[in-house]
Symmetry: D2
Subunit: 338 residues, 4 copies
């Protein structure tokens, strides 16, 4: 059960509400986000929700039977729009495109990528400065200095930055230089990190775990929301199956289902999703038909020389063609739904 409180609810009204909820033995959690105040109640007793809905100080009340609550479409039917400022937003209207290298490597690479994006009218650039790597002996990213360098160039060009944060301690230092915090697949259930990202007012894109269920992904999103941050997006990036002719199995079923279960935007990552360059386009376009609100993919001036993920990274020619087809496919989808 989710109760949204009026902004001007009085202490007495609040006390009355609490007494009511105690009387029906609901365990409550108070959630205060950048946009509103809520009470999330978990309990089993049947009651007439109108009794609460009509109390003074209450904005509205909804039943939510899912394990996740605030991210459920049972509570909020209309899609959430995540505003990045400067006229860029994700989740409605225009299709969101995010592209860039796996790793930020050098000033020249940053400039070249930004130039490619600007030419193609793409406004959000991806890139890693903290890289989760299976081996401790692999390149782990340029860190905060790389981010600051990137930020300078991006800001000048009107480009927004999405980049991965790996631990709570990095959040403060990164905050001013990031437009979207990305939580990687390996941290999809790093609950302390999710708690911490719920306490900042900055969009977060949460990736599904390497073998995370749809329910687990939504409950992880609930961690962020319930700590106070409503600006959350989800990302499908491929799961592990027995098949090993591709790196991962991009799960478009999950995109179709997530669009029904939650009001949050859903982004497709075909680069990691299938992990083989020459199939990225097909999977990207298919993701749109499955319902995705945006696509994030890897592009590099010279994929063969990329520090990481070269095998799944497009070059500028492929990327330019894909930008164009993504937009056309999104328009096509809108045309046949109406």
């Amino acid at each position: 059960m989710i109760i949204q409180l009026e902004k001007d609810i009085t202490d007495i009204q609040r006390a009355t509400l609490e007494a009511k909820l105690q009387s029906i033995s609901y365990k409550t959690t108070e959630v205060n986000t950048q946009f509103a105040d809520y009470i999330v109640g978990v309990g089993k007793k049947e009651f007439d929700i109108r009794e609460i809905g009509t109390m003074p100080g209450i904005h509205d009340i909804h039943r939510v039977s899912d394990a996740y609550k605030l991210v459920s479409q049972k509570w909020k039917v209309e899609d959430t729009q995540v505003d990045l400022g400067d006229g860029i937003s994700i989740g409605t209207g225009e299709f969101a495109i995010m592209a860039g290298p796996c790793s930020i490597e050098s000033e020249a690479q940053i400039e070249s990528t930004i130039d490619h994006l600007v030419k193609n009218n793409v406004r959000i650039m991806r890139g890693g400065v903290y890289k989760p790597r299976s081996s401790p002996y692999s390149f782990r990213g340029l860190g905060i200095d790389g981010l600051k360098l990137w930020y300078e160039k991006a800001r000048t060009a009107g480009i927004k930055i999405i980049t991965e944060v790996m631990m709570t301690e990095q959040i403060d230092a990164m905050f001013d230089y990031v437009d979207i915090f990305q939580v990687g697949a390996r941290n999809s259930q790093n609950f302390n990190l999710l708690d911490a990202l719920g306490k900042v007012d900055k969009p977060v894109m949460l990736k599904r775990g390497i073998s995370g269920t749809i329910d687990e992904l939504l409950q992880s999103a609930e961690y962020i929301f319930s700590n106070g941050n409503e600006r959350v997006m989800l990302c499908e990036r491929g799961i592990r199956t027995y098949e090993n002719s591709y790196r991962n199995c991009m799960d478009l079923n999950a995109i179709a289902m997530l669009k029904e279960k939650t009001h949050l935007p859903v982004i497709a990552d075909p680069s990691h999703g299938i992990g083989v360059r020459r199939f990225v386009e097909r999977i990207a376009l298919a993701s749109i038909m499955a319902g995705a609100d945006g696509v994030i993919f890897e592009v590099h001036e010279c994929p063969e020389k990329a520090f990481s993920d070269g095998q799944q990274t497009l070059d500028y020619g492929q990327s330019g063609a894909l930008f164009n087809k993504l937009r056309k496919t999104f328009e096509f989808r809108k045309s046949i739904r109406s």
Copy 2:
């Protein structure tokens, strides 16, 4: 290595070829299909293929490093078209649509379905008369009598029939009443059945196993082709993963990859693929963007009363809308590829 022989190859030319192949220690299999004669050679020795290619009686020769040979695109670059007669073919040009109930249930149901298809200009009807069921106590289909009844009605209406064959012994009895033999997921590696279907001249649609790899699917198709039948189609129908919010995980990655690995048509089965009615449309449309040559799905006048698979079956309203969107999406795909 695949050598296509000239139709008029002489015995002497053939003997010369065999001697040559023995000299380089290649194990050979002779394949005679409804269309041509081939020698498939498996060996490791390096040699100049032009030595064989220029021999008299040889049409052409190709190296194929895959485990599968005749179904590989390394041998045959252009897509295969499967001709069903009466102007209906699969694999090029128009998008193939096959629809119908999970099980053939009654004369009235057959008539109602055919009427629905005819109205929508759909020419291929699916339906099961032999049903593989996990439990021996479930409905197992109307059998050959159901098929004959169905055939009469379908023939009159100009509708082609695709239906599952479960065992070698059924092939002869079914032959006259079937336009496409379907091999179900559970029989995807029933090699004796595949052998037998290779010996008839009738199109076969082979479904991927419930956890079959892409390579296994192609090797199973090789069984059919190498026994003499070139008219083979593949079908992706969802695989097993850890996720259980859907029945199966429709693997669109496989569709994209199959279209590169093989020249055979690839059909998508979104009904089994995701197994939940209200997501069938999205997955069907996404399949087209992933590269599918056709879609097969389940439709029933009243899905709630279907003998089997009701939860993933569309009603006529949903089906009619989907036919329309499938065709538009296929046209759209063609428009952006060119």
Copy 3:
């Protein structure tokens, strides 16, 4: 619901029973095995089973809520023993050991293997004469002639034969030369084959599908039993997972669970289960502690020269040591349970 009938039930008693079952709307299947006659009833209506249990001509009646019925431990609490004759039985008392090559290759190989088994007092030999192979170009076994040759040698030595049957048409020809029909993983849901094996009076060992669920395995066993053959054994042989450092993932959890869900004997196949020779012993011994009633494994005089599966096959030295440890571990298990 399972009703066991008395052997001397009269027609009138039977008619009374049927009327009763119809009155409560139960769908019934009559099952006549080599040992007894049963009525399996499927329905939802609540009723007092004593009403039926006390009717004349009724031996007993049990409720079984599982999807499978006759193979369920809810119906039959005591373990089933499968008698092979000549003092050899599986399922109680002594631990069952079956060993031999993947494929029967030659007379010399048969003799050598039998000699190895006899020396080690092992009474059941495995070996394939019909081999399911992913590729049509691989060795597919010596067929019925190989089986007859093997049978002659085995009979003389007092050795029982377990070998795979791949299709219904092979059953008759193989019948006289086989002691246990094996159904391979790929045919685990080949329902026509299961039907046919239910109609012969010969033990059957049914392998779990490559990604078969425990429930599916039990329902497949139900096919055999409900067609008339109670002499069924199950075999765990490894499942498909995302992990590829081993060939399959031997699922000892399934062995532990099967021993609770069914009264049928459960055999472990560590050779296919993990698929790597030097781990076969550990997995075999672990299987016993998980509850297995027997072990089947691959042994060859010279594994490197085996026609198939060499990488998971033991040599005679390893095999001899394993026989000994299997028996000791089984005795140990008995000692700590008591």
Copy 4:
């Protein structure tokens, strides 16, 4: 390549070594643990390792082709023993048993559990004070105060503590009250946490990820070791598969393989591994035969009332019997290996 340095290596000897390694283009990482100093070199050039092995200041040198290095058995053949002090060590000799509740709940619960362990001569107690939970609305543990309370009681009783650490910031506060830091499955690739645990001198037990590969687990262990902490243990706790009749699929294949790939102790967690109480014993005993060096399992005075994981938790009667059988089985394993 791993080079162990002599403790008294001089600056000049070190410079000579570095020059040599640069000359063959090896990328090096210096590793200083509580026990020794190493250079880990990654490169491809062939060279005679004796050239380096015989240099002054070098203790020894080994080639390691695995992606992981210091945790590989290719470098260190003899098993690692992790010493907890007070005569308790893991990895050789006596079988390690760790038991306790899923969550630390109360003073009374702590006392009751310790009493149960002391009576059974078990010296290591498990319990969670920081609980990773899928839902933010679930009980998340008593935190540091719970740990301090537990520590007091445990110390008095001579019991060692193993408990999960979820984030870097918790390490310092927990350090004095913990004998083994546990890294949970969800944090198996939380590389920053692994880095930080490599910098403290306290044993760490690292659980395999929910769908972690064996190689990923070993590379995660390499993070800890290469940051300076050699006292690492691995834990198999079940993986995700398509089968859902159990919570997880305890992967005994992994235990058998890990014992060959690494010198680190391997602990089995049958409680999470299969996740169903009545199968914990069988899986625990099977784990020993697969090669485990120890078992960790969940026990609670009253599993039905446990705050978490009750369905997989043993009561004291079951636990007492299991302690006994674990020890007997370990002795039996030793007896048949020798």
